[in-house]
Symmetry: C2
Subunit: 159 residues, 2 copies
DNA sequence: GTCTATACCCCGATAGAC
DNA sequence: GTCTATCGGGGTATAGAC
């Protein structure tokens, strides 16, 4: 709280005019992040493969442009009350379900071949989110090039 | 430190007969973990594909049986001094290089097709390590079944 | 080697003046 | 709405008796 106060140029006590406590601040941040994510995730496209491609591009871009929120959401997750934790987890599961539905549809269409769609979902999300931990602009490759290779690997992994 | 002391049945002050401070304790734990990892990672096998398969199985098993160390290593990484952080990171990079060498060899052999081997390395490790965050024994699938599907996805992603 | 006691610091949060 | 001052609690680490 003191760090936030310094950052915005007030004293620590003054923050409590805007939030009842740190827990609420943390929860509002995470819930807002997840709500934005769910509102922005694409769900249209030509066929399961097109939708998966859109999902991969979206996930990398969204998380890269919000690295701070992603980092905080992960590191502070265990500081939430059990109720708040459960609410954030429920939103996260909703997001996973979006990807799993694409995979299921692809299997039904006969264009994808995955053993268990839930495992494939978690594997893909872990792989994509990992980009935020090492990618920095100005490096050897552009985010577009990185995204292209990730899409290529994801496509082959489920095709 | 108080939690550790309670766990082992002594008072907090008594721990300082075994470690000069918390920083050393943290660093020794992480360095030990990484050294074990590097000592245990398999490097032999029939061809790049066989070596990759062995790597996948090893990585999942090693990290699953050491979930606590993996969790601490990640959460406490930023509490290391810059020097200790750099040393742990160097070990981590050595481990990544083991996987990347397998991918490079596979490309040379003509059995793998990946754009950038470094990106593929990071993608695969992120995907595999993710298993530790959700897998619990007694669930719908055994660790062997999960490992089999991950290997299938990894194989297809790079083939 | 372990204990009790405590120093010192940082944290979240509150009280009350302005 | 913001300030200063402070409370209560937790943290790491140390001192000194046994």
């Amino acid at each position: 709280m003191r760090a936030i106060a310094t950052e915005v140029g007030v004293q620590a006590g003054a923050l409590y005019n805007y939030t009842p406590d740190k827990q609420s601040l943390l929860f509002d941040l995470m819930e807002g992040h997840m709500t934005e994510l769910l509102a922005a995730v694409p769900n249209k496209g030509a066929g399961a493969e097109g939708r998966l491609r859109a999902f991969v591009g979206f996930h990398i871009d969204f998380h890269f442009t919000r690295q701070d929120a992603v980092f905080i959401s992960y590191m502070e997750l265990r500081n939430l009350t059990p109720e708040n934790f459960a609410r954030v987890e429920a939103l996260r599961r909703q997001y996973e379900d979006r990807l799993e539905q694409i995979l299921r549809d692809g299997v039904d269409e006969g264009v994808f071949a995955v053993g268990d769609t839930k495992i494939a979902t978690l594997a893909i999300i872990a792989m994509l989110t990992g980009v935020t931990t090492w990618f920095r602009e100005g490096g050897r490759l552009s985010l577009e090039q990185v995204t292209a290779q990730y899409w290529d690997m994801v496509r082959r992994a489920v095709t």
